[in-house]
Amino acid sequence: MDLTPNDEQLALQTATADWCRDNMPLEAARSRRAGLWQDLEAMGWSAMTAPGMDLDHATEALVFAELGRFLAPMGLISTAAANRWFAGSFEGKAGLALPVTGSDAMRILDPVEAGTAVMWSAQSVALYAAPDDQPHRPTIDLSTLQGRQPSTSPVAVSNAPTSPLHLQLLSAAYAVGCADAARDMAADYARLREQFDRPIGWFQALKHICSDMAVRAAVARSQLYYAACALDAKDGEAAFHVAAAKRLADQAAIDNGRANIQVHGGIGMTDEAAPHLCLKRAHLLQFIAPADAALLLEDAA
């Protein structure tokens, strides 16, 4: 039993964060530069657990949490799933498909330059043709565009029990990163911003908001590690642990996103400042592979 990253994993984690800081800063998430996707593919992050890669879920989750911290493109989640589950019949970039409630259309998140899209359900992941020929519309998350297309039949379906868990784990990792980013942004600001002649982080009212952000992030990250290991170990309770990880990570991302804006005060409400980028990403993530509350109660019997 060891729930701390080993030296190799730590090195990979640090290298990922360093690369992101230089090439994909969070502040630029509202309009990503041309060529970013090709760079991400070249780094290997869209195919870490593809056949023949020999990397485990724990390592992939660690790296995705770092990517999530910089609000990396949503298409990485779906493309990683497609490379793993549809190897041979898939190449390039896959958007993330979601049904549109009350209509028979589907949304394709992050459709730019994609030819296909992956849709998650609790039982499977399915690959759809999704040529990037529809007009792009905004989503709540400024870094993510969407296209719409009529529902069609999938071109391939993976019913492997691990396939929906894998995609759920990666989106939980993104949410953990998002919660970390909001925590760090708030703590940085609370150390710097002065009122009443002292940093606002001196005041317990503000300090304790930040401490609660740290608690939520630590709780979510711990469960993410356990869930990834459970998946690697083919543990019988893996589905429960991944669902728990997703639920806690989504909550941490949204609650930390909200708290970060409060800590920033007036500037936190502006479009110019970065806090809303984290909050909006969190609200998008909660629709990706959401945790089923019934499953969290089920295993208790």
């Binding site: 039993m1 060891d2 729930l3 701390t4 990253p5 080993n6 994993q9 724990a58 925590r183 703590a187 609370a190 150390r191 002292r198 940093p199 982080g201 001196w202 005041f203 317990q204 300090k207 304790h208 930040c210 401490s211 609660d212 740290a214 608690v215 630590a218 709780v219 979510a220 711990s222 469960q223 590690y225 356990y226 990834a228 290991c229 459970a230 690697d232 170990a233 543990d235 429960f240 642990h241 669902a243 728990a244 990880a245 639920r247 806690l248 945790a291 509350a293 019934a294 969290l296 109660l297 208790a300 019997a301």
Partner: protein
């Protein structure tokens, strides 16, 4: 990273399980204080004789000298087997003993540690005072040095097990005019010494589990000072950091049993049909799982680096608040039977009322949040 245990660790787990299965007493721990004391001492002795007391304590003092991982495995199996709460041995085994291991002289360790492990000596804590709660450095209880003795005057409060204890971890001011963290010493006080008066305090649950302790010219040999005169703050902090680190593993396993029982109860009564209740049960089940993950992460950190990471204070805060949410849910699920609560009842209402201690004792939730903000996030110190 992996969540598996080695073949040796698995074998150890099976040994724990087998022994507990054969030896956990069928009767419940008595509520009456005197009967409880006899029960606790007998159970601790049985644990010691079978080699289960002090699994990660040094062999020289009666321990097994195994790693913290074996200790965790034992505590997990202990809770799963519904073995009795350690009760009056809590302070000795979980606070006093570990503090002595880190700070005490050979003589002090050789005398006290085996007695603690065998259940022969009951310990209590003497840190808080009426004027020194969260602000622990405000301690006023004085120890005047006279020859080779300290002469102690003052009072301590919230002392659990004071009425049954043989020894006390006593933090007192031994330098005249000293301020705050300086001039404090950590001494082993004989609770049977002349000049000690104990005033029991009843809790809102009805139990009399803690007390105020008064010292009127109580004489303590200087040889009972641990870690040197004037070094009491550092010695006390080593106990508290232990409390905030690995001291609560059994509680965490218990919480996973509690949530499973609550879900079963809610199913049985049909209350799970209330979406609000179902959702909070689901939430707590996820949180209990995360708590185990966080504990494993912390244990892994101890194995890797020799000490708990700064996130130990996060575990402490999260466990205490989660425990209170569980207790509150248990009362909710009782329905109107909660109305019938009377002082001393050993039921969910009693647990709920006693459970307020979790975010007060050993550093309030507010102090924990200060620590997290300052040590983990680097925010400026408010105090």
């Amino acid at each position: 990273m992996d969540i598996g245990f080695s073949p040796e660790e698995t074998r150890f787990r099976e040994e724990c399980r087998a022994w507990l299965h054969a030896n956990v007493p069928a009767e419940k721990r008595p509520l009456n204080a005197d009967e409880a004391l006899d029960f606790d001492k007998a159970w601790q002795r049985r644990l010691f004789d079978a080699g289960w007391a002090g699994i990660n304590w040094p062999e020289d003092y009666g321990g097994r000298g195994l790693s913290i991982v074996e200790q965790v495995i034992w505590l997990e199996e202990y809770a799963k087997a519904h073995a009795p709460w350690i009760g009056s041995n809590f302070v000795g085994v979980n606070h006093g003993g570990p503090t002595l291991i880190i700070n005490a002289s050979e003589e002090q360790k050789a005398y006290h540690l085996p007695r603690i492990l065998k259940g022969e000596a009951i310990w209590c804590q003497g840190f808080s005072e009426p004027g020194a709660g969260s602000d622990l450095a405000g301690i006023k209880t004085r120890g005047r040095i006279e020859g080779d003795e300290l002469v102690v005057n003052g009072s301590k409060i919230w002392t659990s097990f004071a009425h049954v204890a043989d020894w006390q971890e006593l933090v007192l001011r031994t330098e005249d005019g000293s301020q705050r963290h300086k001039g404090l010493s950590w001494a082993i006080c004989d609770m049977h010494a002349p000049g000690i008066t104990i005033r029991p305090i009843q809790k809102m649950s009805g139990q009399v589990e803690f007390a105020e302790v008064f010292y009127d010219d109580v004489r303590i040999p200087l040889a009972n000072v641990v870690g040197g005169l004037g070094n009491g703050w550092n010695v006390a902090m080593s106990t508290l950091s232990f409390e905030r680190g690995t001291g609560f593993i059994a509680d965490q396993v218990k919480q996973s049993q509690e949530i499973a029982e609550l879900i079963a109860t809610a199913r049985g009564s049909g209350m799970i049909g209330d979406d609000r209740i179902a959702d909070s049960l689901a939430q707590m089940r996820a949180e209990v799982a995360a708590l185990r993950a966080m504990t494993y992460r912390n244990i892994s950190e101890v194995v890797r680096t020799g000490q708990p990471g700064p996130e130990a204070s996060v575990i402490r805060l999260f466990t205490s608040e989660l425990g209170q949410r569980l207790e509150r849910m248990a009362v909710l699920l009782m329905g109107d039977a909660a109305i019938d609560f009377a002082y001393g009842d050993d039921n969910a209402v009693g647990d709920y009322l006693r459970g307020f201690a979790a975010t007060i004792a050993g550093g309030t939730a507010q102090i924990q949040r200060d620590i997290i903000g300052e040590r983990l996030l680097g925010l400026p110190k408010s105090r």
